[in-house]
């Protein structure tokens, strides 16, 4: 089959590789119909996540049609399924607590050792990510092997477009859990850093959970425009002093909850961020937590800090004292996708949540190297890319032309 493979920093290719096979009784194989590129893939593309190997197949936001099942799978051939990016057994202590991304069994014993050394405990597994998280092939390919297919996959009723449900695999539950972790109360002002797909779903979720006001921060006009369409007030950090603006907008108190939907590759020329970038490029550190630092300083006393943005290791100049002295509550984590699947699918089917507004491009697998470059270089125009193995090379569909005024 054809598959999108990682070969090093900024080196993504399309290779011919063997088809996946059923290996364990609970496995299923799906034929991929849609597979999205995520902000997390950018961290791999930029080479910031340790434990990738040249030749790994990318892709953790996957859906498709069941084509083969192991003897213990509960799926049926022909079913349309969305696959959570977290691989979870459903049986261990953590899965039983619905902390699916912390699954204790999915990361094979050969690969879990390293993450145990790095993190203190073995991490759960994910599709198409580093070998620290299991080294399973991703779904930016024609076919995907899905372990524990009796518990993870979300069966989709007939007549639903892929784009409507695809994001149940990751960014929708991630935005939702980010808002849940912000423990929103009536009257709250919630500030969201980053208007990428995760930020946009966090904004939508925060409103559904009762936020009085959401303030969205980014520097790309079209992404800010999408946030505005969802009802958020917007701040372009190139135009305003973010902390001063947030204080101004909250009567000096600061937002009740702050959500970091940026992660380890904060943009911007703030002095701390420039130093972090130099360190990251010289391998003296992995993190550039500029947005998170700003969020912690901006948050009101006794407020909540939610961190869906991905970080990989140790960070310099983390505002620990500020966090402690202000009495902040911090919640974070890879998303427990399976916990939210049913609730969010129902909300999509009932039209309570808009999942398609952010998709800017469709393309075939053969165009993936170009799409990765655009996803990296042209974030203003490319707000979410969905790869469809059914599309021919060069058959790129642009779903929205962004005509816009500066924010």
């Amino acid at each position: 089959m054809r598959a999108v493979t990682w070969h090093g920093r900024h080196d993504v290719r399309v290779d011919t590789v063997p088809d996946p096979e059923i290996v364990n009784p609970r496995d299923a194989i799906i034929r991929i119909t849609s597979t999205a590129i995520c902000g997390s893939d950018l961290h791999l593309y930029d080479g910031y996540i340790p434990g990738m190997r040249a030749g790994d197949i990318l892709g953790h936001e996957n859906m498709g049609e069941v084509v083969e099942v192991g003897p213990k799978s509960t799926l049926k051939k022909g079913q349309k399924v969305v696959i959570p990016f977290t691989i979870s057994c459903g049986e261990c202590f953590f899965c039983q607590k619905q902390q699916f991304s912390a699954c204790d069994n999915s990361n094979p014993s050969e690969t879990s050792d390293a993450s145990e050394v790095l993190m203190g405990h073995a991490m759960g597994a994910a599709f198409g990510y580093a070998h620290l998280t299991g080294g399973y092939a991703g779904g930016q390919a024609e076919y995907l092997r899905v372990p524990y297919s009796d518990v993870g996959p979300i069966v989709i009723p007939d007549g639903i477009e892929d784009d409507q449900v695809l994001f149940l695999s990751d960014i929708l539950p991630t935005g939702w859990m980010a808002a849940e972790n912000a423990m929103i109360e009536p009257g709250d002002t919630v500030a969201v850093w980053g208007c990428g797909p995760v930020g946009l779903f966090a904004i939508q979720s925060a409103f559904i959970m009762g936020a009085h006001r959401v303030i969205a921060i980014d520097h790309y006009p079209t992404r800010l425009e999408l946030a505005k369409q969802l009802g958020a007030d917007i701040l372009d950090y190139n135009e305003v002093d973010v902390r001063a603006a947030l204080n101004e907008m909250t009567g000096g108190i600061g937002p009740d909850a702050v959500i970091d939907c940026v992660g380890m590759e904060s943009h911007g020329m703030a002095i701390d961020n420039v130093l972090d970038t130099v360190k990251a490029h010289t391998f003296l550190g992995t993190e550039r937590p500029h947005a998170l630092r700003q969020a912690i300083l901006a948050c009101r006393k006794g407020g909540r800090v939610s961190i869906p943005g991905v970080y990989g290791g140790f960070a310099d100049k983390f505002p620990l004292g500020q966090m402690m002295e202000k009495g902040l509550t911090v919640k974070s984590g890879q998303t427990h996708v399976q916990k939210y699947s049913k609730q969010l699918l129902d909300m999509i089917l009932e039209g309570k949540i808009n999942t398609t507004f952010l998709v800017s491009h469709h393309a075939g697998l053969e165009d993936a190297p170009d799409m990765y470059r655009h996803w990296h270089d042209d974030q203003n125009e490319y707000t979410k890319i969905v790869l469809k193995p059914g599309l021919e090379k060069g058959e790129v569909e642009t779903l929205r032309e962004f005509a816009h005024e500066p924010a």
Binding site: P20, N105, A137
Partner: protein, 109 residues
């Protein structure tokens, strides 16, 4: 290599211990203990082993490099055992890659 072991202790449900017989190529002894975890949390399994590495410290270093060192192997086997009991299968990342040396049905590091 030949090792003949003899069971020296068998407390049903809680403890198994063994030792290698005289004449085995490696001198080794081990014990496995089972203990109830707090309610709802299953069973703690503890595995202790001692052995005289062939080739002494250097042999042990080489085994470690080849990931054949008993500490590594024992830890991984315990994890596989837990996986098998809890999920009915041993977790394996076997899947395709663009690396010619691998097949989609084999575990990889």
């Amino acid at each position: 290599m030949k090792i003949v072991s003899r069971l020296v202790e068998d407390v049903p449900g809680s403890r198994l211990a063994w030792e290698s017989e005289e004449g085995s190529d490696i001198d080794t002894a081990g014990v496995i203990e089972f203990e109830d975890a707090p309610p709802g949390r299953g069973t703690y399994v503890r595995f202790l082993m001692s052995y005289d590495p062939p080739g002494g410290a250097i042999g042990r270093g080489i085994a470690k490099l080849l990931q054949r060192e008993p500490t590594v192997q024992a830890r991984r086997d315990l994890r596989r055992f837990k996986q098998l009991l809890e999920t009915g299968e041993v977790s394996v990342n076997a899947s395709p890659s663009a690396r010619k040396s691998e097949t989609p049905t084999e575990a990889r590091i």
